[in-house]
Every structure is written in structure tokens, then in C-alpha cells.
Amino acid sequence: MTPIQTLPRAGKYLTFAVAQERYSVPVLKVREIMRLCPVTPVPRMPSYIKGVINLRGKIVPVVDLRERFSLGAAEDTERICIVVVQVEEPDGASRLTGMIVDVVEEVSQFQSDDLEPPPDFGDAVDARFIVGMAKTRGQVKTLLDIDRLLGFVGQIDLRALNTRSAEL
């Protein structure tokens, strides 16, 4: 992980909502946004790994961000989307991974003035995959480091996540 990737940078970000929270990822990482389609579950995996989908012939794993952040099930399933992003492995390889989110909101330009480094949550929040925070138009968005968030899928210690508070 180079420092450049972990520092918040100005640029275009895709913002989506998971429960009441808003998260953003660099738009350059996003490969595709699709309606929720049937996901084939892979047995014996952590519950937040929903399974695999067929993305034009590629087998792509899908992670449910609600489960990942322990936010409970969504009530409104109408606008659920799969955001397919390109994840860089630590060894330089890259692969696609889908994230199930409640709703995709917008693509917007974040100025460097809008961005802040991740605050110190203490023990309350696992901040390993948070690059920073953005405040635009009265909203606070969490910038996700998807390489970290999704790069260790299946290998992250779940207990650390469970201690996380649902509120920012």
C-alpha cells in the first residue's frame, strides 16, 4: 500500500449509501454499477461474502457492505445495487469485486478543502480501511480504501469489526 493511495486526494468520487451512512470511492476504481441480480452463494464463507455473480463471463465475488459493517438488513430493497470495483492486491494483481450497497447516490468532485484525514475513533471503529472524510453540502462521507476493505476479504478478523459502533 503506497502512501499516496491512503491519503485522501481531490477528484471525482462515487458516493453510495449503506443504511444511513454515506461512503465514497474514487470513481476511477468503479468498473460497473448494476442492479442486484441473483448471487450464487459460496458455502462456508463469512456471511458478508454473499457469493459470486457472472459479470459477462467473469466470476466476480460479491460482498454485502451492510453485513460487512454489521448494519443489519435493509428495509428498502428496491434500489439495491452492486458496485463492481477494481481491487488492487498487495502483490500488484488486480481483480474485480462487487459491493452490495443500498443506493448509489451521485458522482461528485471533492476539492482538497473538503477532505480530512480519518479522525481518531479510538477503539470504537476499525479505521483500517478509511482513507479520510469528505464534507460536502452539509453531508459527511467516508472515503473507503477498497483495496484494504475488499483486498483481505475472507481473512479479516471479524471480532474487530463487531466492536464497531454503527454511528459515526
Binding site: 450464487t40 459460496v42 458455502p43 462456508r44 459477462r56 463471463g57 466470476i59 481483480r95 475472507g154 481473512q155
Partner: protein, 760 residues
């Protein structure tokens, strides 16, 4: 350092000089390369006199590079060379200057011969220090890689050819083919300027050339020499390949060849095998005394031997087309033009007039070389993947409900046409990856020959079905297990001739290796007529190791399967020597990874038969689509023995051991897929579901699924990094409706604990 270098160069030059013949380009390339290296030595080491003579030599050689030297020029070259050698030997104070460290001192010898190998920059790094050279940063790694790839092909051709010659020394076509292979190899090495390889290949070529001209009978000595030479070249090639792969980069590549070279020279001079030459087999006859003079004269000064001209150095393009020459040329001709030896796959000579010998079949295999195009395997894989997509996309269109409703006859026709073409296309794309199993089988020839010789056994290897095609990945992966099994068969299966005679068998043991298509896969059968497996000993060993209990009373078949268990591969397990079953667990592992299975049948005292069933390709499997709960899974058809709906009386429960199902009087543990996979299934009573008896080598299992949906071919996809720790699934496939189904690995799934505790 430097003076040994000069010595080596001079020695090489002297050798070449001795073999130079008028009007022949043979050897000149090597000389030009060596002279070029001499010239590039730091001038402090070389007197002006020597330099002058050297330049003269070089000029002479280069002027003659195309057509060879006329006799007067040859004399001139010889005198000049002697004077130069003398002058060089005078100045030998040899300051410690590495030649490599002075790249700028290298002058390119007059490049009037564009294809002359020496001036090539790749040659600059090649240093002949008694069989040692370096791969430097300035070398064209791509060319070297091509050279390695091609070299391996050529060397295996040589090996096969030589083994044929061993049986039938008079087979001209094979001899020519081996000769051509060496020649092409030498050309490649010369182009890259790898002098030690070139020198060795050149010597071996000379040996074969003499044989070609009937000046040297092909006897055991010659065969062994060529095989040994081939092995040495193989070592070079492997060493280069290793360095290309990034290992021990920058280290010298060294293979001891000096002794080999001497032996070849001795052989060429017609001396009987020198002491150093300990023949591998005791049967090697001493060299007949007739050849010497003929061999020597021909090698040195044949006044007008047409075949000599038939050995073009890569430099020599325009050649009088004798039929021999034409053939030899077809193999190498376009190379110098392309200026890249490895780019041009030798175009094999058109199939020669049928060899009317009884050995025709055996000989044919060395000749059966079709025209090839070299292709990056990744491109091939990408093509095959895309084909899979196309087939799925096509079936999605055809089965789309709207399309189905249209009921238009013309559309129907077009769709059918589309289906047909995509299927054909897919089959063709698949066949691109298919290669005959020949190359893997042929490796066995050499192994059996060598093993039998060292163990003083007489073994005959009969190959059949070598043209059976299967996926190239499988062919490659199969080599190791087969070699292993073959070694076992010769080591422990086949008895010594005395024992065999005592047992009322013929002294010569026979191993048959046979490949054939069976069902949707391939069957490889290896049968020996050796001593067979001793069930009692295996049983005792297994009891002793606690692998089974005395009450188990296993069948013969399950006893044989015990040898596949890891840890069973110990000495005295089966035979007194070291135990059949050495590493058999590895063999089974390899085969299981290829989604195949292996069976043993054996009769004590009469022999053992191994049967390996493999899928034709790793890209596609024939799968049984089964339903478990809401999900669908694919079970590889090859692993399924049978599927049935059990009767209530077939199912029994054993406390602590779980459920068993009795199929044809065999008790098979029942594995509930829904439990293993953590799925909710409506089927709780096995009698309402379907039981599939799967077999992966050691034990049978009965997988309980809800329903059988159908049988279909699917393109296998990897599940990827995310699921690399996941067990039980060997991959995924996209079904006709576009959804993904996981492919079950029956063996792994059975090993899983219940999913209840795994999923938290």
C-alpha cells in the same frame, strides 16, 4: 583467468582447424566466433605479430564463410594460425583483466556477412572458458528463451531418434533427422554466440555426419556418446532457462564437457573407446577396427564429398541442392535470413518414402511432425475462454422467452445455424489445446532404457495409443506421475532375469503403456508382467501402521488402494528392495488435481496394472447438475460411479460413524451435501433424494443431493483469490441461464466438517 581463456580459445580453434575441410563451410562459423573473441582481448595480452596473423585468419575465414575455403586458402589459414598460436604463446604474462569488463574493446569483425553469428551482440557475452559462459545484460533474453524452447524440442527429437537408431542403426532417415536436429541446435547456439554449446553440438554433429557417410558404424559407443552429449546440451539449456527465469542470475553457466569432447574426438579418430568411457551397458561392443582410417580421412580432408556441402552453417545460404542438402536446408534455411534461429520452427521434410521395415510404426513417430505455429498459451486460453462465453451467450439468446415466442421458421433456421457454428467453433477452439500424449510417453523410453541398464534387468517397453490427444496442461502434468510409476514398475515390478526365469517367465520383462479414449475422457493403462503386489504384505504393513484394523477384512481392491496413502511409501512395505508405493500418494495427488482417478489391479506373481482415467481437458468438464436446497451444483461426471435413489433398507446408521448406505453389498458412508455446505434442504430422508456414489481413489462416498437436474458440459472458471482458502469447491461455471453454479470437489467436500460449526 585470462590466460586460461586464451588457452581455451586456442584449443577450440585448433580443434576446428583440424576438422576444416576444403570447400566446406563447416566449422568456419565457430572459428570466426573464436577468432573474434581472441581479437577482442585486451591488446596488452597479444603481441602485434599475433594480432596481425589473427586478422589474417579472420579475414580468410570470413571471406570463405559462404562456400568454404579452397585448398590453397586452407593451407594459408593453417600457417597463419600456427604463427598466431606461436606468437600468442610467447606473450602470456596475462594481466588479470576480465574480458567481460571490456565491452568497448570489442571490434565487430567486418560485417560483410550479415548473418555471421560472431558479430552479433548476443555473442559478445558468450565466453568460452572450458564450457563456461555467462548470460549478460546485453543478451537478447527473448532470443535465448526461444533458443531454450526450441532446443528442448530438438533434443527430445534427438533422443527419440537415437533410441530408434539403437534398434535399427541403419535407418537413414532417422539418422538424418538426428543430424539435422543437432545441426539446427548448433546453428541456434552459434547465432547466439554460445560457444561451448556450439562446440559440443558441432562435435556430436561431426560424429553423426561420419555415420551418415557410412564411415562410422553406429554402435553402442556412439549411441551412448550421443545420448550423453544430448544430456549435456540439455543441462546447458536448462541452466539458461533457469537464469532466464531469474534464478542465480549472472552466474556462470558451466557443464563439464571437456571429457565428452575428447571421447567424441577419440571416437571420430576411430580409437576404441578410451578408458574414461565406461559404457552404460555391459553389452556395448568395442569399436570394430575397420572404421578408423575412413573416419579420420573423411573428417579431415575429403576432396569432394558432396554431403559435406549439405551441412550449411547458418551463414551458408546458396548451396548446391543435393537431395540431402535440400532436406537439411529445409530445416535451417530461412533461419539466417530471419536472423533469429529460434523464430523458425524447423519445417520438417515432407514425410519420407515409407520405411518398409517391421519397425515402421516405431520409426514413424520420430518422423510424424506436422507443421507448427508457435503460439503464446495465454492467447490460446483467452480464445478458449471467449468461446465458452460465446456458447453461453448464444444459448441465452436462443432460450430467451421472447425469442421462443416468435415462432418464426426463418428465425428458427438461423438460430439453429448459429448454434451449430458456435458448437463447431468451440470444438475447434478446444482442439487447439489438444496435443498428442506422445511426448510424455516417449520420455518413458529413455527412462526405461537407462533404468533397466543400471539394474541389469531386461525390460521391453511397448507404447501404444501415443496419438491420443488431450489438453496440453494435462499432458505436462501427467509426465511426473507417469515417470514415477514407470520407475516403480522397473525398480520393483519387473524382476531380475534370473528370478523371472525361475518363475517360469521370459527373461525380458514387458511394460505396456497404452492410452485410449474412453467415455468422455482418456484412459491410460500401464501394465507390467512383474511380480505384482503382495496383498498380504501390504495388509500387514497397514495393520502395523494402524491404517486399518484387523476386523476391516478389506477386499483386494481396497488393499491395493492402501499404497496411495501417504506414509505408506516406506521400505520393505511391499518388496525387499525399497517398496512399491514410493510416493504413490504424490501420484494420486497429481492425478486428483487433474480431476482424474487411478485404479490398481494386480495379481501376485503375474503383474500389476494401473489405470488412470483423466478428463480430456481442464477447461471443460462434463458435469452432473444437481440441486441441493435452493442451489445448484456441478459434480464432475468422471468421479461419479453411479447415482441411485436408495431404498429404506439400504440405509443404516452406525453410532459415532454416521450414516452408511449399502450399494451392491458395499457399505459406503453417506455424505449429506446440504449439511456440509450449510444449506437448508427439504430432503432429510435419503430415500427421497438421490445418492451419488463418487470415487476419488481411496474411498467411495455417497453424496446425498436433492435432485439430479441434468448432465452438461461446462467451462470451468476459477473462483479467484477471494475464495482461495475455501475448500470443497474446485471452481465455478456459468450455466445456460447466465447464473453461476459451483463445481464440487467430492473428495474435499467429504473431508469437510459439518457446516454448522464452520459458519458462525
Amino acid at each position: 583467468m585470462a590466460d586460461t581463456h586464451v588457452d581455451a580459445l586456442l584449443q577450440e580453434l585448433a580443434t576446428e582447424m583440424a576438422f576444416l575441410s576444403p570447400d566446406s563451410a563447416q566449422g568456419l562459423t565457430v572459428m570466426v566466433a573464436a577468432l573474434g573473441q581472441l581479437q577482442r582481448l585486451p591488446s596488452a595480452m597479444v603481441s602485434a605479430d599475433a594480432m596481425q596473423e589473427l586478422a589474417l585468419c579472420l579475414a580468410l575465414c570470413q571471406s570463405a564463410a559462404g562456400a568454404g575455403l579452397a585448398p590453397p586458402q586452407l593451407d594459408k589459414l593453417q600457417t597463419a594460425f600456427e604463427r598466431m598460436a606461436n606468437a600468442l604463446y610467447v606473450v602470456q604474462p596475462a594481466p588479470e583483466v576480465s574480458v567481460l569488463a571490456q565491452p568497448s574493446a570489442r571490434t565487430l569483425p567486418a560485417p560483410d556477412e550479415p548473418a555471421a553469428p560472431a558479430p552479433d551482440e548476443a555473442s559478445a557475452s558468450a565466453e568460452d572458458d572450458a564450457g563456461r559462459f555467462f548470460i549478460g545484460p546485453e543478451d537478447d533474453l527473448e532470443l535465448l528463451n526461444e533458443f531454450c524452447n526450441e532446443g528442448r524440442d530438438l533434443l527430445s527429437q534427438v533422443e527419440q531418434g537415437v533410441l530408434v537408431l539403437e534398434d535399427n542403426p541403419r535407418h537413414k532417415d532417422t539418422l538424418n533427422q538426428v543430424f539435422r536436429a543437432f545441426h539446427t541446435f548448433k546453428g541456434g547456439a552459434g547465432f547466439l554466440g554460445i560457444a561451448p554449446i556450439q562446440l559440443l553440438a558441432h562435435h556430436l554433429e561431426s560424429l553423426l555426419d561420419a555415420a551418415r557417410k557410412d564411415q562410422l558404424p553406429i554402435n553402442q559407443t556412439v549411441i551412448d556418446l550421443i545420448l550423453a552429449g544430448g544430456d549435456a546440451l540439455q543441462k546447458y539449456v536448462s541452466a539458461i532457462a533457469r537464469q532466464l527465469a531469474g534464478e542465480d542470475r549472472g552466474q556462470a553457466i558451466f557443464v563439464a564437457t571437456a571429457e565428452l569432447l575428447q571421447r567424441v574426438e577419440a571416437c571420430l579418430r576411430g580409437e576404441a573407446a578410451p578408458v574414461a568411457l565406461a559404457p552404460v551397458t555391459s553389452t556395448a561392443p568395442a569399436m570394430p577396427a575397420v572404421i578408423p582410417s575412413a573416419a579420420v580421412t573423411s573428417a579431415r580432408t575429403p576432396p569432394d564429398l558432396p554431403p559435406q556441402t549439405a551441412q550449411p552453417e547458418p551463414v551458408a545460404l546458396p548451396l548446391p541442392p543435393s537431395p540431402e542438402a535440400a532436406k537439411a536446408l529445409s530445416a535451417v534455411a530461412d533461419k539466417p535470413v530471419l536472423a533469429a534461429p529460434a523464430l523458425a520452427k524447423p519445417v520438417p521434410a515432407a514425410p519420407d518414402k515409407s520405411a518398409p521395415s517391421a519397425n515402421a510404426g516405431k520409426l514413424a513417430r520420430t518422423e510424424a511432425l506436422a507443421n507448427f505455429v508457435k503460439l503464446d498459451t495465454h492467447k490460446l486460453d483467452a480464445l478458449v475462454d471467449l468461446m465458452g462465453e460465446l456458447v453461453i451467450a448464444q444459448s441465452m439468446v436462443v432460450q430467451h422467452s421472447l425469442v421462443q415466442q416468435l415462432r418464426d421458421r426463418e428465425l428458427d433456421r438461423h438460430l439453429r445455424q448459429l448454434s451449430r457454428i458456435t458448437t463447431d467453433l468451440q470444438r475447434n477452439a478446444m482442439s487447439l489445446r489438444m496435443v498428442p500424449i506422445r511426448s510424455t510417453f516417449q520420455k518413458m523410453n529413455r527412462l526405461v532404457r537407462d533404468l533397466a541398464a543400471t539394474q541389469h534387468k531386461q525390460v521391453q517397453l511397448i507404447l501404444s495409443g501415443e496419438d491420443t490427444e488431450l489438453d496440453r496442461n494435462i499432458v505436462e502434468e501427467l509426465a511426473d506421475p507417469l515417470l514415477h510409476m514407470m520407475r516403480n514398475a522397473v525398480d520393483h515390478g519387473i524382476e531380475s532375469p534370473a528370478d523371472r526365469l525361475a518363475a517360469g517367465k521370459s527373461a525380458q520383462g514387458t511394460i505396456e503403456l497404452h492410452a485410449t479414449h474412453q467415455g468422455g475422457g482418456i484412459l491410460i493403462r500401464m501394465r507390467d508382467d512383474g511380480r505384482g503386489l503382495d496383498t498380504q504384505r501390504i495388509l500387514n504393513k497397514a495393520l502395523q501402521k494402524g491404517l486399518i484394523t484387523a476386523e476391516d477384512a478389506p477386499t483386494d481392491k481396497s488393499i491395493f488402494n492402501l499404497i496411495f496413502l501417504p506414509g505408506f511409501s516406506t521400505a520393505e512395505a511391499v518388496t525387499d528392495i525399497s517398496g512399491r508405493g514410493v510416493g504413490m500418494d504424490v501420484v494420486r495427488g497429481n492425478i486428483a488435481r487433474l480431476r482424474g482417478r487411478i485404479d490398481i489391479t494386480s495379481t501376485f506373481g503375474e503383474g500389476t496394472t494401473f489405470e488412470i482415467f483423466l478428463p480430456l481437458t481442464l477447461a471443460i468438464i462434463d458435469g452432473m447438475l444437481v440441486g441441493v436446497g435452493q442451489e445448484r451444483f456441478i459434480v464432475p461426471t468422471l468421479t461419479i460411479r453411479e447415482s441411485l435413489r436408495p431404498q429404506p433398507n439400504m440405509v443404516s446408521t452406525v453410532q459415532g460413524k454416521g450414516e452408511l448406505i449399502r450399494v451392491r453389498d458395499k457399505l459406503i458412508p453417506l455424505v449429506r451435501l446440504s449439511d456440509k455446505l450449510g444449506l437448508v434442504s427439504q430432503v432429510r430422508d435419503p430415500c427421497e433424494g438421490i445418492v451419488m456414489v463418487v470415487d476419488s481413489g481411496v474411498r467411495s462416498r455417497a453424496l446425498l443431493v436433492d435432485s439430479l437436474i441434468g448432465k452438461q458440459e461446462v467451462v470451468i472458471k476459477s473462483l479467484g483469490q477471494t475464495f482461495k482458502h475455501q475448500q470443497g469447491m474446485s471452481g465455478a461455471a456459468i450455466l445456460g441461464d447466465g447464473r453461476v453454479a459451483l463445481i464440487i470437489d467430492p473428495e474435499a467436500v467429504s473431508q469437510l466438517g459439518s457446516a454448522a460449526e464452520a459458519v458462525s
